[in-house]
Amino acid sequence: MTAPGNAESSRPTSAPGNAESSRPTSAPGNAASRPTSTPGNAATRPTAAPGRVVPPPDPAQAVPPPAAPTAENRDRHPVVLELRDVVKTFPGVRALDGVQLEVRAGEVHCLLGQNGAGKSTLIKVLAGVHHADAGEITWLGEPFAPASPQAAMRAGIATIYQELDLVDELSVAENAFLGHEPRVAGFNRRRLMAYETRKILTRLGHPQIPPRRLVRTLPAAGKQIVSMARALSHDARLIVMDEPSAVLAHDEVGNLFRIIRELTAHGIAVIYISHRLEEIREIGDRVTVLKDGRTTAANLPARTTATRELVSKMTGRTIEYVFPPRLIKAEKPVLLAVDDLTRDGEFAEVSLSVQEGEIVGIAGLVGSGRSELLETIFGARRADSGTVTISGKRVTSVGGAVKNGIGMAPEERKSQALLLDQPVYRNMTLASFAGFAHAGFTDTGDERAAAQEVADKLELRPRDVTRLARTLSGGNQQKVVVGRWLLAKTGKTRLLLLDEPTRGVDVGARAELYQVIHDLAAGGVGVLLVSSEVPEVLGLSDRVLVMREGRLVHEAPAAEIDEATVLDLVMAGSLLEGEPA
């Protein structure tokens, strides 16, 4: 049991300003006894013995000066990881475009950035999944370019991924040691594995999870613990955690922080990614902010940097979004009414309405239930309770939705909306196939002509509707998906549901898509859109809804709310709870 060391970890959310002084790791007298391993020297490596107790600061030895900020003490720790101008390009996307990062031993270094800022790519580069195209990575004083995930782990970097990377049909112990199982002549040493796993789980505060239980039977929080156990099963010197708190309940987060403090007390560095500013304030030492694949701010003190500053570093844009001006319109009849819509575990008691010709935007993080909500409105998911009505008619299935004039452009364009190896016109006529049939035979000429008309209207490039959908750019593919609902034969589309309409679409094409959406609204079509990009929601919509953890938490006309407020609401309301002085 970690009895003495967890006195401070069990305390609730620490008030900023006094938290650091009570932390054992920041006591200057204690710092000297901390492992000061020289880079590259594995012999002096702190052995993170499982189950070992973190000694509390000796009060006689050192009474920390109350004003001493944590970062100052940590500055004495050696830099273990350094990134300079790291670049990673994927076809069509510059995911990392000059990332700087410096991580010291024993610190919790937070990475902050909006969706698509490059955080996930960055950690995959560190984990050996992707390889940087340019730039320098130094790990323990030596150039670092892991060829495989295994190489990164051997070098001492363990990663806890956001998507749970567990195997359901293997046991807890087998998952923890997957890829580096203790074995003799090919046989897994099951007892040893179970024993080691039990030790790690005890250290993680969950000794009640049986190492031999199948992971499939664990709840989400239990799976997260197993992911952590896997990271600890490696003798890691740096643990990267990608939104580890996303699936955890509040009390579990406290436990997670206790574990992180224990790790850092042993000199292990932690890179912590989270959208929740309050968490960063509580657990973080320094913050590096990414935006559009670049580092916009490095090594800010986690506790004392004002929220406004962090948010502005995250949002300060280099790309100017061009939104067509919105006209203020009179009240129109309600087109879509959603009442108390609930799907267990996804969203609850959502009520909203969309008027004719109105654009309503939903801002929210991935996993806030926004995509699920849209799909339920479209009838693709069955609601557990609540109703969806369009012009007074109930909608419960996709067929009914389409018949009543609802069209949808789903989030995953390529897998959910397009037949990539079919020509554009076939993709457009997909929802209205029967309309082109004469006695059961479809008339390709008619199809092409109808598609061409829409393509001209949407300024599809190239205009040729016989090209394969695969050959189009992201923006033009999106036009094809939207165009599907504009074909006359589809029937009159009165409501468009757009899920991340501009994901993977370049800036120029975005402006065109925005214009298309506005033109549709001007023609009386209601639009309900979801986007992770707050400026897009604000610039495009008449009215903004904010969704967090499956609930609508705020509603305001787009003109009366700003980006920082929305971002803050999306990320759990720390602004409203007051900033640190």
Binding site: D165, V167, L170, L178, G205, P210
Partner: protein, 340 residues
Amino acid sequence: MTTTEAAPKETTTTRVLALRSNEGLVRNLGLVGVLVILVIIGIVTRPELYGDASWVKNNIFVILQQASAIGVVTVGMTFVIIGGGIDLSVGAIIAIAGVWSTTLATQSYGAAGMIFTAIVVGVVVGSINGILISYGRLVPFIATLAMMVAARGLAAQISGKQTQVSANATINGIATTKIIGIPLLVIILALVVAAGWVLLNRTTFGRRTVAVGGNPEAARLAGINVRRHTVLLYALSGLCCGIAAIMLTSQATSAQAAMANLYELDAIAAAIIGGTLLSGGRGTIVGALFGVLVFSTITNLFAINNLSTEVQNMVKGGIIVAAVLVQQFRYKSLTNLLKR
């Protein structure tokens, strides 16, 4: 401490655990139940035979011997399917291994040479499947379908479409040898099943197979060489085919290009009935063995009643559908329970 918070969760998960541990048992019990029903049908239809204890004992060995070669193949198939693949070429691999090991040239090296040849041919052809799939990025279905056609073609080419009689007394004796009253073929099946069980449940290779089939991305991120692992899985299937080729050659005292026809279907069906998920990531060797036994018992039932194989195939098809339906139902109800 945290134990108090976790207490209520513990009780729900314990409930689920109890349910889970029953799951495998229930499935195997279900298959045992099917076997019992088949035996009862046998007793009802031919009571005079079942009155004779020595006939019953002998008939059990007949069933097991019939199950032996296909059982060995099914063990390899189960590994491939758990690993997220499928092997349509097992029958063809048996044919080419059997034909190659019974050419006059090979027979001149004696029994050891024949066994060696059959196993090497099986492993090599299986490895080619694996390499095409993991390094050539062919879909397993297509790669092994092509191999199924090509290997039978090569077998026909080598044998000149003739039945190649085995003149080797040792090889031919395998099928007739009994050790302490148990046919050697049945002992081979038992050994392969036992080895398969140990390999799947106790070795790093077996546990990684579950990972590769169940969550390939997780396996890759954990540092497992998924491609190499896939090649090994198909090589293992080929190895089982090589062993089965010797067993079948011994039973028929000959080999030909048409031997082990449609074995791929029987092996896949037996694995699926035994609870292996066709999408990979889950399966048991014991279940697969029961699947094989159900099939060979049906065959036996029809034989002792002098009924046609056509009716038999219809019944087989029905059983496959029923088994998969039950499997889906059970999986759904399980996941529903977990959600609750």
